[in-house]
């Protein structure tokens, strides 16, 4: 556990705070504010509208952005410390480092997801007081499961982004490429059933007829290829 603790510690505390709050509490507070300020517009509308919109933002945008920011920060910490240079003198493989980095990002995703589950519960509970919900309990369960499915659907993206950040040494270009893939992925995933872009796996999970388990083969392939390419790049 000690190496994993140090992996976390390598990151800037302000960045961690920004990630945890910026990707959970702030969107929640903003949504709550809209609901309260514009309560009249939402009154008697189906509560499922809020539930699906809330999860939708996460599936398409916020989780991929979170992964992108965290992975870039982790890789930048290594670049600044010149590990990729020093490490070459004694490392023959980089798998353990890649796993550790992935574990850190997944740990943060897990934390943000836990906060989101709580916030989503509170949001639906609050909105149910003036919106229509046939079965609030069922809606709560369903949207919680969606958040958990999203968490797992982005595991391949963690490895893919790690590979991309290692391959592309310039941070700005790496960000640009990732954002391009993220933006391009949204219409493709929405309009087709082509699921190869790990940035869109969150959208795919939410699509009727696709789901988390159908992403396992392609997700596994993305993880394996990403690890192989990242390891090869670092060894080269």
């Amino acid at each position: 556990m000690y190496p994993l603790y140090l992996e976390f510690k390598k990151l800037n505390r302000k960045l961690l705070l920004f990630v945890v709050l910026g990707f959970s509490s702030i969107p929640f507070l903003a949504t709550m504010l809209f609901l309260v300020v514009d309560k009249a517009s939402f009154t008697d509308l189906p509560l499922s509208l809020i539930a699906s919109n809330n999860v939708g933002t996460w599936s398409a945008l916020l989780y991929p952005l979170l992964v992108l920011v965290m992975v870039q920060a982790l890789v930048e910490a290594e670049r600044k410390a010149k590990l990729f240079t020093y490490g070459r003198s004694y490392r023959r493989a980089w798998f353990d480092l890649l796993w550790r980095k992935a574990a850190v990002v997944f740990g943060l995703l897990l934390l943000v997801t836990a906060l989101n589950l709580i916030y989503n519960f509170l949001l639906l509970q609050t909105a149910s007081e003036f919106m229509e919900a046939a079965n609030l309990g069922e809606l709560q369960r369903e949207s919680s499961l969606n958040f958990i499915a999203l968490l797992f659907s982005f595991i391949p993206l963690i490895f893919f982004q790690l590979m991309l950040s290692i391959l592309v040494k310039k941070t700005g270009i790496s960000y640009l490429l990732s954002i391009l893939l993220l933006i391009l992925g949204i219409p493709i995933a929405n309009l087709t059933n082509i699921m190869v872009n790990p940035f869109s796996f969150g959208i795919a999970v939410m699509k009727p007829g696709v789901g988390l388990f159908s992403l396992v083969p392609i997700g596994t392939l993305v993880i394996l290829i990403s690890i192989f390419v990242a390891n090869y790049t670092l060894k080269k």
Binding site: Y2, L6, K80, A81, T85, G87, Y90
Partner: protein, 283 residues
């Protein structure tokens, strides 16, 4: 520890051509040569950072390494940085304390974040990391860059202590020749894509040979050539290698210099690296 027929280049530019050298255990070597000759490249080859070279590297596995522009994780303390390094290299983390002690980083400083370290402490930590190795070789690239005189002295004594305790071989690459020459056992001169070993201390055994760093080069040389106590002079920039006559003494020469108002600023009985460098590289 042997480098055998090492050839390496960047694209069309050849850096080493069939370079050979054999290192002795427990020796401290100075790796010297002008900028761009390939000192850091050679260290990177030995360290295993560059692998696309021709030839063979024997017996230099897993060397300790200090590169220029020292870098560590800014948010980790000095001690945490070294512990993480040990965990990565499967080295016993218990060695960290003694490595820190060797370079005079006290427990309080070791617990501070690397981001608050001064240049001197960064160098100390970098050298401490290079000491944490299971290999029989330590490579130090410009270990005394941008550090004050006290820190340099302290680091030099740490290097000597480390060598004496571990019997490991150390290669130091530096442009500050005067700062490293007193701790070296031998010198590795990089020129013409080759490495030459020089024992710059051998001259010390010749009692009548001295090295005088003169204030005015050419004028002083002409005067010295007429000196009755001198049998031969070789000049390299402002340093004169002076062979005294068998019946002459050093004090006689110094008195003569005083009388002739020839000023000098340093006298060595051992060959200064600067002299070796000037003779072999600049000429």
């Amino acid at each position: 520890m042997v480098l055998e027929n090492i050839s390496f280049g960047y694209g069309e530019k050849r850096i080493f051509d069939q370079l050979n050298v054999q290192l002795k255990p427990s020796n401290i070597y100075g790796l010297i040569g002008p900028n761009g000759v390939g000192k850091t490249t050679l260290m990177s080859i030995i360290a295993g950072i560059f692998r696309n070279y021709q030839g063979k590297v024997h017996g230099m596995d897993s060397p300790g390494l200090l590169l220029q522009d020292i870098a560590f994780y800014h948010n980790l303390s000095g001690k945490e940085n070294l512990r993480l390094f040990c965990l990565d290299r499967k080295i016993d983390p218990a060695k960290v304390d003694s490595a820190l002690e060797m370079v005079d980083i006290n427990p309080h400083m070791a617990s501070q974040k690397f981001s608050v370290y001064s240049q001197g402490y960064k160098q100390r930590l970098g050298i401490a990391r290079s000491f944490l190795t299971d290999g029989n070789l330590v490579l130090l690239d410009e270990p005394f860059t941008a550090v004050d005189v006290d820190t340099t002295r302290s680091l030099k004594s740490a290097i000597l202590r480390f060598r004496d305790q571990t019997q490991k071989t150390i290669i130091i690459s530096s442009h500050q020749l005067r700062q490293i020459e007193d701790i070296l056992d031998a010198c590795l001169l990089l020129k013409n894509q080759q490495l030459e070993e020089h024992d710059h201390r051998a001259a010390a055994s010749q009692q009548k040979l001295i090295y005088l760093s003169l204030d005015q080069g050419t004028d002083s040389l002409q005067s010295l050539q007429q000196c009755e106590y001198v049998s031969a002079i070789i000049m390299a920039e402002s340093i004169a290698e002076i062979q005294l006559r068998p019946n002459a003494s050093l004090s006689q020469l110094l008195t003569w210099l005083e009388e002739k108002s020839i000023s000098w600023n340093r006298l060595d009985r051992k060959m200064p690296l600067e002299f070796l460098y000037t003779q072999n590289i600049i000429r």
